[in-house]
């Protein structure tokens, strides 16, 4: 298979270890005087956007940052819990850049680009250095050094963390760096602004149309380059662990303006989330993967066992992950753990009232920690109650905020009874296709962080999204953007009365008018919920040809109905959350169709993409490397029409193999 001529991944020559080093020392630079006249628009202020904007401003570029929340500090990255990976080998447990590279390629089920992943592993250590220098309060040992924990899909401890609030602390670090540049006048901040359209002139991205969400006014902004750092689109499923604003709008507008969409169907379903409890629910809550360090997952051995968890004796419990995957046990990758939970529940072994849940149980480790503490405190012959009490204190220090959150939502105390958990939509590996420079198929238009099709292949390992977002923003884009901007130093700022800006703004205005004109009978949420249900049932944890085929028809019908019957209240020129949602859901509907088409065309199972027709006798994902070792990059060809382009994935350093965690 050869890659499509429309996809030039621009992977540098040289051995995998040398590509990035060599690239960095040969890439074109922009001199400081020229930087001052080059303007960069950064859409999104999460880890990717804030780190990119701060770094580019420090380098001397003129930067504008857009986000739809009221402050850049509220980007969805703030919600990340468990940790961030880096190949520091501080634990002396055999970690290395190569091992992180290898784990990520394997974890992604061999569907990621080797050169990008290696670069990610190389810069991972710098991220921790940078964050510590900014004052990010990572967890520490008594000796004052940084502490680590384990995440899934690895056998080393390389995850750095700040209790269950790692994303918060990393984002506040990047946000501080950003605000410093704002204070110095190097960055102009436009919060409560939503990007509605990309403006292209002669095939290059030259700006955006943004809506001021307070006044409702449309604004034109010019940039020599546009960076989309707009996060993932998990909310296409309506229910997910994502914030309400994890939307596809920016990426989708870019897609319609020529940016190819990579692997849209690759969705991560996270195994440990609080189960759905009723139809009022607006979101699902994650219980961090770090809990799998200390929690054991089980279901009763007997079907429809209605006893309470504590009344089920040890020998009647099925620790199915430990049974099926002894080498990795509870720490298998997410896709594997999620499918295993679904398998047990579908087979009738689920727990709780809905029977769609499994137990995550901390009792064994609470006791183990209690014993260690008792020994540390020189307590001889401590009672069981004392041990449990001491153990609970340790568990509290490690996961206190997560346990509190669980209790608040479910009304049950996880210190006393095991948590009930079930998989939920969590992350989208798919996104805008980018080359090695993080540039999309539109010149001057870049995608960073979760918004790009990413280094995670068909399944992301835990604690790797924070790593990737910060790698892209702090350490990759500052170099790779020079490759493009060094050619742009003669381009003067284009006045925004240019016809391309006028036309783009008019398109947005027309769409707003159209939405208001419908005056239908159903709310935006009504359509969103219906879309979510189609996606979850037919393009979720398990997919098949029949379901996907019918999903495509259903989504097309839903789209027609939306444009006939949606009701958008309020006015255009005011703060109007209903109007915001209407735009976003309209884009989700179109994306949903493409996701199903992508899932349907990929006649194999890999990572998070599980096609029931393609599995091993043990129920594991069965890849087809001869026919599908490629990135599917879709080109928009007009209403409901997409053309597939393939980027061949070459594995020159890691041998393709069936994943094995047993």
């Amino acid at each position: 298979m050869a890659s499509s001529p429309k996809l030039n991944s621009k992977i540098p020559e040289g051995t995998i270890e040398n590509k990035w080093t060599k690239y960095r020392s040969t890439v074109h630079l922009v001199n400081p005087a020229n930087k001052r006249s080059l303007e960069i628009l950064v859409v999104g202020s999460g880890l990717a956007g804030a780190s990119a904007a701060a770094s580019l401003a420090e380098m001397g570029y003129k930067v504008k940052v857009f986000c739809f929340q009221d402050s850049p500090r509220r980007a969805h990255s703030i919600a990340a819990q468990g940790g961030v990976n880096a190949a520091k080998n501080y634990q002396n447990d055999g970690d290395s850049v190569y091992r992180l590279f290898y784990d990520t390629i394997k974890g992604g089920d061999y569907r990621a680009r080797e050169a990008n992943v290696h670069r990610l592993a190389e810069v991972s250590g710098n991220i921790i250095d940078q964050c510590v220098a900014q004052g990010v309060p990572f967890a520490r040992e008594y000796g004052g050094t940084l502490s680590n924990r384990s995440f899934g899909g690895t056998q080393v401890q390389r995850t750095f963390y700040a209790a269950g609030q790692t994303g918060q602390q990393l984002l506040l670090g990047a946000y501080s760096a950003l605000q410093r540049q704002v204070g110095m006048g190097a960055v102009k901040l436009l919060a409560r602004h939503e990007m509605m359209e990309v403006v292209t002139i002669d095939g290059k991205a030259r700006g955006i149309i943004a809506r001021d969400l307070v006044s409702g006014k449309l604004e034109r902004h010019f940039g020599h380059a546009v960076l989309l750092c707009t996060g993932g689109y998990g909310n296409v499923f309506y229910l997910s662990t994502n914030a309400m604003g994890s939307i596809v709008t920016a990426a989708w507008k870019a897609h319609k303006k020529g940016a190819f969409f990579g692997n849209p169907c690759y969705t991560q379903i996270h195994p440990t989330c609080i189960p759905v409890s009723g139809d009022h629910q607006s979101k699902l809550t994650l219980m961090s993967e770090s809990l799998r360090n200390d929690g054991r997952i089980w279901v009763p051995k007997k079907k429809d066992d209605n006893r309470k968890a504590i009344d089920i004796p040890e020998e009647e419990r099925d620790y199915y992950l430990e049974r099926r995957y002894p080498a990795f046990g509870n720490l298998v990758p997410r896709d594997v753990a999620s499918r295993a939970a679904k398998e047990r529940c579908d087979a009738g072994y689920g727990v709780g009232t809905s029977k769609m849940a499994v137990y995550l149980d901390f009792a064994a480790n609470t006791e183990r920690y209690g014993k260690i503490e008792a020994t540390k405190h020189n307590l001889h012959n401590p009672s069981k109650a004392d041990i449990i009490k001491l153990g609970k204190e340790v568990v509290k220090e490690k996961y206190g905020n997560l346990f509190d959150m669980y209790k608040q939502i479910t009304g049950e105390d996880p210190y006393e009874v095991p948590m009930r958990i079930y998989p939920a939509v969590h992350y989208t590996m798919g996104g805008l296709w980018v080359d090695y420079n993080l540039q999309t198929t539109v010149e001057g238009l870049y995608a960073l962080g979760e918004a790009n099709f990413s280094d995670h292949g068909a399944n992301r390992l835990g604690a790797s999204a924070l790593m990737q977002g910060l790698a892209d923003g702090y350490f990759v884009i500052p170099y790779t953007i020079g490759d493009y901007l060094s050619e742009e130093i003669r381009t003067k700022a284009i006045p925004t009365d240019n016809e391309a800006f006028v036309k783009a703004e008019k398109d947005v205005q027309d769409r707003i008018d159209k939405l208001f004109a419908i005056k239908g009978s159903k709310s935006v949420d009504h359509f969103h919920k219906r879309l979510g249900k189609i996606m979850w049932d037919k393009c979720g944890m398990a997919r098949n040809k029949e379901g996907l085929t019918s999903a495509i028809t259903e989504i097309q019908q839903l789209k027609a109905e939306f444009w006939k019957d949606v009701r958008v209240t309020g006015e255009a020129n005011e703060f109007n959350p209903e109007l915001e949602k209407a735009h976003r859901v309209a884009d989700f509907i179109e994306l949903g169709e493409l996701m199903c088409k992508d899932a349907l065309h990929r006649n194999e199972s890999c990572g998070g993409h599980f096609r029931e027709e393609f599995q091993t006798a043990e129920g594991e994902a069965l890849r087809d490397d001869d026919n599908f070792a490629y990135v599917a990059a879709w080109e928009y060809k007009g209403d409901s029409s997409f053309e597939l382009h393939k980027e061949e994935l070459k594995f020159e350093n890691i041998k393709l193999a069936q994943r094995n965690y047993a």
Partner: protein, 254 residues
Amino acid sequence: MSHGNMNLTLKVWKQKNKDSKGKFETYDAKGISPDMSFLEMFDVVNEQLISSGKEPIAFDHDCREGICGMCSMYINGRPHGPKQGVTTCQLHMRSFKDGDVIVVEPWRSAAFPVIKDLAVDRSSFDRIMAAGGFVSVNTGNAKDANNILIPKPDADEAFEAAACIGCGACVAACKNASAMLFVSAKVSQLALLPQGKIEARERVLNMVAQMDEEGFGNCTNTGACEAECPKSISLENIARMNREYLVSNALSKK
């Protein structure tokens, strides 16, 4: 569509924009389940309003799990409602009784103008951060992370201060509309760490100057902020900031 069996009366502040005058409107919230979050209860009410052709209630929210700091409602006279240590999005309807009347208002402070209904403008917090809430280190200048050793108790204390979500409840709770708890949390976090110590003096002076410029009130140590803070940010931070400020101010006048 019915979800549960609680019926409530809401009195909600409605205000078209920052220049218009607002007033309370009364709404029925029917069929509410105790498992809903406060915001999910609003979703239900809004859905009913939309289907009867009325304007929904505008409010800010995003993560809905207590970490982004976006949600901001003054519920029955208390920021984030009756429960200690939680944000509005984490407040569940089981904290209320069938038949309750619930009064909901936006944050009230001159430094937080109302945008619409319950949504307010908190950009003043961003400007305070831009004045000094950082360590001046450019990307690429860092040395190996473990070269900076930090005693665990200091790291833990810094982390606790850093847990502030920037929601503004402290300001809303304070009769003087003081932002001291928010500002002191950042000042403390950075002052507790060797990385932040170097600029500690300038930081506190600059952040406090910006805070005053934004129109926040003075702190008279009533402690209302700590009591209402959803992240239990401690008053000790204010004490630490006051010490930092006095020393820095004295030194800067020399």
